[in-house]
């Protein structure tokens, strides 16, 4: 009896397995049929944990979420035939590992077969996935990636697009301002420069050394420090001893915040105080406890640009916090360009890439945004905190930039 019972149980179980198998096959076929345009699948792998999570969470992920929310709220992505399809998102956490991001993108392309793949955060990660994106023919809108080699990359991967410029662009814009200040007699000829011994810091400082030297500056203090450094008392002390009027730090957010706090403690307030990633975060003034006036960094926005202001307000409303003043707007603009491209040419990957590189788009950057040689060049390179806003600056002002205000006032 017991045997029979267990036999029966086994049968039921087998039947159940068969049923589930049949069902899953049915669902799978159905899935394929349904994919025949009831929705557009957008996939991305992004660092939700690990050391890169902080940067990704500030600049990239909120913009992806904001964009999807907005598009779906408006009825979905517009297609060339006037129909609208909602976006479905498949997102993976790359755990800040370069192998993981490549694996995830491959999975998105070959297994999930998504229509669009959005890029990961960071220069290194974008370079890591670029060959994969090119292999599967996906347009690669590299947003959060600073590289001087973009012109080479667009030749190697002709479906790649670069939205954040290169180190040389940022450094030469800064050098231009410094030269003008020196000519006006407001700063001396010396620069104290520190950099984090990691991706961003290495790239920027490599571009900065020749640029400063060519402009006739004397880089009196030039040191790099390990990324794990948390105390800057000694480094700032030594930098201060260099008697330079210009302090430049190519740093990541934890260093940027720690440097600011330490500079206040040590009353170190050189006329030019330029910091790396993090100084353009909206939370920066709070972390610095007020007194950020005059601090310079990469990026900046035009406070008179209504499109940009509207975007920032929307970001704050839908994401619950402000957008950063550097990369966010560029990432969002790249998504708007993608959206308009799909409206014009549909979801064919090659057609999207072609339209992206030759078309003109209306974005938060302006009514006529277009790429040059697959690169966005209309970028604000240097920003400065002026009256509670991180605005784009240049030595003379104009073309969407304010005039730089130097020397930086002392700490409050």
């Amino acid at each position: 009896m017991r045997n029979l019972f267990s036999e029966g149980g086994l049968m039921t179980r087998r039947l159940a397995t068969c049923a589930i198998a049949a069902l899953s096959i049915a669902v799978a076929t159905n899935g394929v049929a349904a994919q025949d345009r009831e929705k557009v699948t957008v996939g991305y792998a992004i660092s939700k944990s690990g050391p890169n999570a902080g940067g990704a969470d500030m600049t990239v992920t909120p913009n992806y979420e904001l964009w999807v929310k907005e598009v779906n709220a408006a009825g979905g992505l517009k297609m060339p035939d006037g129909s609208q399809l909602p976006i479905e998102v498949i997102a993976y956490d790359d755990r800040s590992s370069a192998e993981e991001v490549v694996r995830a993108v491959e999975r998105l392309a070959s297994q999930d077969k998504v229509d669009i793949i959005l890029p990961p955060w960071g220069t290194g990660f974008n370079l890591a996935v670029a060959p994969m994106m090119a292999k599967f023919g996906y347009p690669h809108l590299a947003g959060a990636a600073v590289t001087d080699k973009a012109s080479d990359f667009v030749k190697r991967w002709d479906t790649s697009f670069w939205f954040m410029g290169g180190s040389e662009d940022y450094v030469s814009a800064l050098t231009e301002i410094l030269v003008a200040e020196r000519e006006a007699g407001r700063i001396n000829n010396k620069i104290a420069m520190i950099s984090v011994a990691d991706g961003f810091g290495i790239d920027l400082v490599k571009a900065a050394r020749p640029s400063f030297e060519a402009a006739g500056f004397d880089v009196a203090y030039d040191k790099s420090f390990p990324p794990a450094t948390s105390d800057f008392a000694t480094i700032l002390n030594e930098a201060g001893n260099a008697e330079a009027d210009t302090f430049v730090a190519f740093t990541y957010p934890p260093h940027t915040f720690a440097l600011t706090k330490q500079a206040k403690i040590a009353s170190y307030s050189p006329p030019v105080f330029y910091l790396g990633v993090g100084a353009a975060f909206p939370v920066y003034p709070k972390i610095a406890d007020g007194s950020v006036e005059g601090i310079m960094s990469l990026g900046g926005v035009d406070p008179n640009n209504e499109l940009n202001n509207a975007y920032r307000a929307k970001h704050e409303e839908l994401v619950g916090r402000g957008a950063d003043y550097w990369g966010s707007v560029l990432i969002y603009a790249s998504l708007q360009m993608l959206e308009q491209t799909i409206e014009r040419v549909g979801l064919d990957k090659a057609a999207i890439a072609k339209e992206l590189s030759s078309g003109t788009f209306s974005t938060v950057l302006g009514a006529e945004t277009r790429l040059e040689d697959n690169q966005l060049r209309a970028i604000n390179w240097v920003g400065q905190w002026q009256d509670g806003k991180f605005v784009a600056v240049s030595s003379a002002g104009g073309e969407g930039t304010q005039q730089v205000k130097l020397p930086k006032p002392g700490w409050e």
Binding site: A53, F225, A233, A258, I265, S267
Partner: protein, 287 residues
Amino acid sequence: MLEHVVNGLVLGGTYALVAMGLTIQYGIARIMNLGFGDMIIAACFATYVLFTTFAISPLLALLILVPVGYLVSDVMYRVLMKPLVSRAPDEGALEVDSILVTFGLLFVIQGVLLALFGGGYASYSFLNTPVHIFGTVVAGNRLLALVLSLAIGGAMVVILFRTRWGMILRAVALAPNSAPLFGIDTNRAARMAFAIGGAMAATGGVVLSMFQTFTATAGVVFTMKALIVVILGGKGSVPGAIAAGLLLGLVETFVAAYVDPGLTLAAVYAVFLALLLVRPNGLFGKA
């Protein structure tokens, strides 16, 4: 010169503060707690929330979070560690088991923090006021870390070496198998030591959050640093943790000032290796 000594001691105070709890947990309860750094981060976030949302001063948060750290660790020991201790045939097995369990604990704490706060940077400004000592200006919050680590360390040394209760803890650390023969409740003593370690993690977290930028996943950095200090000082030795912490702070500062800031990490590990060659059981360790 003197300024580098002051800066080095202040930096070392932070290291010592972070490492003392770990050394007590490891030395007395014999639990190698790899989730220690994440408990610190949890305390950082708790302070952050108390300060930014409820406007509770981090100094007041210390009074709230240190007992909480004690209680949480007490419960953690009862639920997670006690079964391991009873099961382990010898000290080596317990060490391996505790490493595995706390390695899992690390990801649980990290996952909860990620779910609650996301992966972004957290930082706020408190007690970032200049304080003059011997002609050197140091940050008030960092000085607080040094003072606290010296005070707690001093208190622990007095308790461990001058009180009956401390003698019980030392007996358990030294001879866990013989201690019960003298009527010592080893389980209770180990649990207490683990809980004290947890309270110290909370102390470290509260103070660190005042000057350091932290993320939900940064715990492992603190565990690593604390581990170096613990091994360098000799496992289970509170004075060792303080001496090793201050030594590392001084080494980092002097290398940054006179050699190159890029070599601070290399110098720390060089000192670590050199000392272990001479004293394999650490500065204050017993063979």
